[in-house]
């Protein structure tokens, strides 16, 4: 609970940090699409290589990324195992009743593991190198066309920014509540999954109440700071596209191009 490294900004100065958030979001979207559309290891290899280069340019310690992967380790192993024993295939290596391990199954599981890991690594790269504010600013800017149909884009992104800002606070509160209950004899990390979940209910209720209180106080503070006072709002930070962004844009275009090429010419001899 204490360690909420996933989705936390890592403040250093780097090429990736200085990129426009919109470019980075676009990169993430393209990247995810490519890894889910790709059917060849080569395509994933290219993605991994691009991501590795981007990671090296971000100057973020690799251990941070390992920790992010560790967070989904269980999910990855679980899905990989299931696919390994259930995936139908022709070249059977081992079988027992309805379970079988096939060459195709192994390949498919490996593919899945790489996909999931790349997915987490890429989204971590975005959140490590982009402040929550820049991220929401980027999303706001991308969604701006929706204001034409009167969609409350600013309210939506403000909600996101506040949610992000309260993640550390809520995790701190959860820690405090858990310790307080442990001190009074609550067994939060003993027993089977069912009893653990049951023991967690009082923690959740206390956390819910404290967050309602926080929300009410925040509402007052926001009103006192003139939220909704004026129809025309200004923005402190303006997003600007620079040469770096154009460079990153070319990388994205290259990524799309190679993905398309691989799809069109699957037998492309490299």
């Amino acid at each position: 609970m204490k360690d909420v490294s996933f989705g936390q900004y890592y403040p250093v100065k780097s090429f990736v940090h200085s990129l426009d958030p919109r470019v980075k979001i676009l990169f993430l979207i393209v990247f995810i699409t490519v890894i889910f559309v790709a059917k060849e290891f080569l395509a994933l290899g290219i993605c991994a290589a691009v991501l590795l280069i981007a990671t090296l340019f971000s100057r973020i310690p690799l251990t941070k990324f390992l920790r992010a992967v560790r967070g989904i380790l269980f999910l990855v192993l679980f899905t990989a195992t299931l696919n390994l024993i259930f995936y139908p295939g022709e070249t059977v290596y081992w079988s027992w009743k309805f379970l079988q391990i096939t060459k195709e199954g192994i390949l498919f599981s490996a593919f899945l593991v790489i996909r999931l890991v790349l997915l987490v690594l890429c989204s971590s790269l975005l959140t490590y190198t982009t402040t929550p504010v820049a991220l929401t600013d980027g999303i706001e800017s991308i969604l701006t066309p929706l204001t034409w149909i009167r969609f409350p884009v600013h309210a939506l992104t403000l909600v996101m920014s506040i949610a992000l800002r309260f993640i550390p606070k809520l995790s701190e509160d959860a820690g405090t509540i858990m310790n307080a209950q442990r001190a009074r004899g609550a067994k939060l990390d003993e027993g089977g999954p069912v009893s653990r979940i049951k023991a967690f209910v009082p923690v959740l209720i206390a956390l819910l109440i404290s967050s309602f209180r926080l929300a009410e106080e925040l509402g007052d503070a926001m009103e006192a700071r003139c939220y909704g006072c004026s129809k025309k709002r200004t923005k402190y930070k303006k997003l600007k596209i620079g040469w770096r962004d154009i460079l990153a844009f070319l990388v994205i275009a290259g990524l799309i191009a190679s993905a398309v090429l691989l799809r069109v010419f699957p037998q492309f001899p490299f």
Binding site: P132, S161, I162, R165, A224, Y227, T234, K235, Y236, K237
Partner: protein
Amino acid sequence: MKALEYKNVSFGYRDDSLAVKCVNLSVEEGEFVAVLGQNGSGKSTLARLSNGLLWADEGSVYVFDRLLTQKNEREIRRDVGIVFQNPDSQAVASIVEDDIAFGPENVGIPREEMRERIDRALKAVDMEKYRGAMLSRLSGGQKQRVAVAGILALRPRIMIFDESTAMLDPRGRREIMDVILKSREEFGVTVLMITHFMEEALLADRAVIMHEGKIAAEGKPREILKDADELQKYRLALPKTVEISRKLRAGGLNVGDAFTAEELTGEILRAYRS
């Protein structure tokens, strides 16, 4: 000119008795007024009545001679800034400067001026070094200073501190008191400070004691805060230094009432020398 005026203001929460009963209070422009009182004395309600966060059931509130109504509350909110109690529940953004920008953005300040305002606000609260810092990494006192800067950047004419030091450690409390004095000097704001720390009220021009929703006493802080029996009635205690000096006097050392630690050491030294 009166900066803030409550005329026969009463307010009750849905459940039971009145939280504020027929209060008459006015704060002159440029004045620094401290409102003291026990929990539940109605002092925090008073702050929320000043800018339409709560509406008086009876009576009226004036801000710079304008009657507060639902129509002009948005305009009046620009003049009345409130810093609340909890340092963790006032910020909307994760980064210091982005959070300070929230108020000016809301009222549509152009970007260039916003930058200037943020610079000055950060300087006034002595947090220039933390401009790009994450709020979650700061101490309670630092977070609260950012909250003050967030209000200063709106350039209000009155600042209300609603128990803004209550959740801080002694160091954080001192920092906030320094910031309050500095903002008065720098921006000439009128200050209404709600607190239950006697020591903080000593820095004010005038102290007001609230008890059970009413104004129970009013006057110079040093006059009000030396009557132990009277304070006892409102479930308040003497400032620690006054208490110590009286105990010393009862023990035979000839010291006068001391309101600060410096005064106390001075008194004790003087008593020993004579």
